[in-house]
Symmetry: C2
Subunit: 267 residues, 2 copies
DNA sequence: GCGTTCTTGTCCATATTATGGACAGAACAT
DNA sequence: ATGTTCTGTCCATAATATGGACAAGAACGC
C-alpha cells in the first residue's frame, strides 16, 4: 500500500505494519470491554470486529492463558480479565480531566436534580468515566462508570462526533456500522443526529438508550480544539420538556466552559 | 523447541500456539508496567524480555498508535498508556481480595504502627494493591499502590514464592533471572531467602529495597492452597529487632488467618 | 573539534507464524 | 428427526512478523 511519506502528513501517524495480530487482539479487547462484567459471546466479537471466527477464537484463548481475558464458564461469554486492571495500576490514578470536571458535575447535578455523566472518547467508543446522581427521586441509573458504547449510539457519542471535524466523524460512524445493529440504529440516523447537534450546540436524544428517557450532552474541548469529553444529563422524558431542555442545556454549556478553563489551567 | 504434549499434563493448559506476537506484546507491557509513570527505556525492555530490539521497537510503536503505550518525549521512555485503565473500567472495581483484606490491614497497622502492604502475584511479578500508613512518625512510603517488581526481590515476593510448590518457585525465579541484576540480587540469593521463609513461616528481608529498612511478609492462601497475596510490614530497621520481629510476625499471621477466612466466606 | 560508546530508529529478504476454509461436535428449537 | 446456531479444532498455505545489518543521534571523554 502506501509506502510514502515517512514523516507525518497532518497529525496522524497511523500506518505502521508488522503487527497485524497485535492490532487484532486489541480490537477484540475493545469489544470485550463493551461487554463489561457479563462479557460478550464469541459470535458477537466476530460480528463486531469483522475477523474470522478461528482468528477470534485463537486470539481470545491466548489472551485467556495470559489472564487478559476471562471466560465465564456458565455462559461461555468472554470478558476482560483481571490482569488488565493490574496493568492499569501502573498509571497515576485520578486523571486530570476527572479532577477538572468534578466540581462542575457536582454543581450541575445539584442545580438540575438529575444524574450527570462524564463521558470520554476512546478510539471509536464512548466510555463513561464519572457519574453523579441527582437528588430527584426518579433517576436514570442504568449507565454506569465503565459503560462503553460505539460512538454515535448515545447522546454523548453524538455530541463528541459533532465536535470532531465532519470528515473524522463520518469515518468513525462508518467504522462502527457493524455494531449499530445491536443498538437499533444505523449510519444515516446517526449522521442526522450529528448534524442536528451541530445546529443546536448540544447533543440530544429524544429516545435515550433506555425506554422513556431523554438525554442532553454538551462537548468539552481541549485547548487545541479537539473534543475531550461530553457532559450528559439523563432524565425521564417528562422531566425534559422544550422549556426545561433549554434551561438544562444552558447550565451544561456554562459548566462546560468552566471545565475547559480548568483544563487549560492544569495543562 | 518442545513441540510435545498437545494436551495438558497436570493443571496448566499453556501451550496454545498461533499468537507469538500477541504474547510478546504482553510481555513487553508487563515490563512497561513495572516502570510505572516514569516508564522504561527501550534497551531495558529488550534486556528484560529477551526479545530483539527491532521486535520490541515495532511492538512498542504499534502499541503507541493504539494508545496502549505512551512515549515520554522528554526522556524517551515508554510507559503504560491511557487506554489500559479505560479497558480496566470494564471490570467491577473493588476486588474481593481487597474487601476481604481491608479490615485486617487497618487493624494490623493500628496495632503495629508501621505501614502495611497488600501484594498480589501477577505472572512472574509482585504487585502492590493496597497500602495502609501507620501512625508512627517515621514510615516507609516509597512503595506505592501499583508498584510492580519481579517475584523474589521483595519480602512479599519471597513470601509468595515460599508458599508455592518448590518446583514452581524455582521456575519463576529462573525466569526472572535477567531482571534481578537491576535489584542487585541473583538466583542463588533468592532461593536461599525462600528456603529461610519456609523455615520461619514468614518472609523477611534484613535489607529492604530501601536503605535502612526491614520487611516482614506473610503469605495468604486461597482455599485451594495457592498463594493469593502477601501481607507486609515495612519499617526502619531499628524498629524491628528480634523480639519485635516475633511480635509483628504473630500479628501478621493472625490477620492472615482472618483474611483467609473472609476469602472462604465470600467464595 | 573528533573518536567512542551509548542509545533509538529503520530496512527488507527470509522463514516462521498467523490465517481462514473446511470440518465436527454441542446445544437448542421446531 | 432435522435444521439452525453456536463453539471449538485442524492444517496446508500465504501472508506476516522477524531480526541481522545499517544508520543516525546523544552523551561523554579528552
Amino acid at each position: 500500500m502506501d509506502r510514502t511519506s515517512p514523516r507525518s502528513s497532518t497529525r496522524a501517524t497511523e500506518p505502521r505494519q508488522g503487527a497485524q495480530a497485535i492490532r487484532r487482539a486489541l480490537s477484540v479487547l475493545r469489544i470485550l470491554a463493551a461487554g463489561r462484567e457479563d462479557g460478550v459471546p464469541l459470535a458477537e466479537v466476530v460480528r463486531a470486529t469483522g475477523l474470522t471466527r478461528p482468528t477470534v477464537h485463537r486470539i481470545v484463548h491466548v489472551l485467556i492463558e495470559e489472564s487478559i481475558v476471562e471466560r465465564h464458564d456458565k455462559t461461555g461469554r468472554y470478558a476482560i480479565g483481571n490482569q488488565v486492571p493490574e496493568l492499569a495500576l501502573a498509571r497515576p490514578r485520578p486523571s486530570p480531566l476527572l479532577v477538572a470536571a468534578g466540581p462542575s458535575l457536582r454543581r450541575a447535578s445539584a442545580e438540575i436534580g438529575d444524574t450527570l455523566f462524564l463521558t470520554v472518547r476512546t478510539g471509536n467508543d464512548t466510555l463513561c468515566v464519572d457519574r453523579r446522581i441527582g437528588a430527584y427521586p426518579i433517576q436514570v441509573l442504568s449507565i454506569e462508570v465503565g459503560a462503553r458504547r460505539p460512538l454515535g449510539v448515545s447522546s454523548a457519542g453524538v455530541a463528541i462526533l459533532a465536535a470532531l471535524p465532519a470528515q473524522d466523524a463520518r469515518k468513525i460512524v462508518t467504522a462502527n456500522e457493524a455494531r449499530f445493529e445491536a443498538y437499533r440504529t444505523d449510519v444515516a440516523t446517526v449522521l442526522g443526529e450529528i448534524a442536528a447537534a451541530r445546529r443546536l450546540g448540544y447533543g440530544m436524544r429524544e429516545i435515550g438508550l433506555i425506554q422513556g428517557t431523554k438525554s442532553i450532552s454538551t462537548w468539552i474541548k481541549t485547548p487545541d480544539g479537539r473534543p475531550a469529553a461530553a457532559m450528559t444529563v439523563s432524565a425521564v422524558r417528562t422531566r425534559l420538556g422544550p422549556r426545561r431542555e433549554q434551561e438544562v442545556a444552558e447550565i451544561l454549556l456554562r459548566e462546560t466552559r468552566v471545565i475547559e478553563q480548568a483544563i487549560r489551567a492544569s495543562a
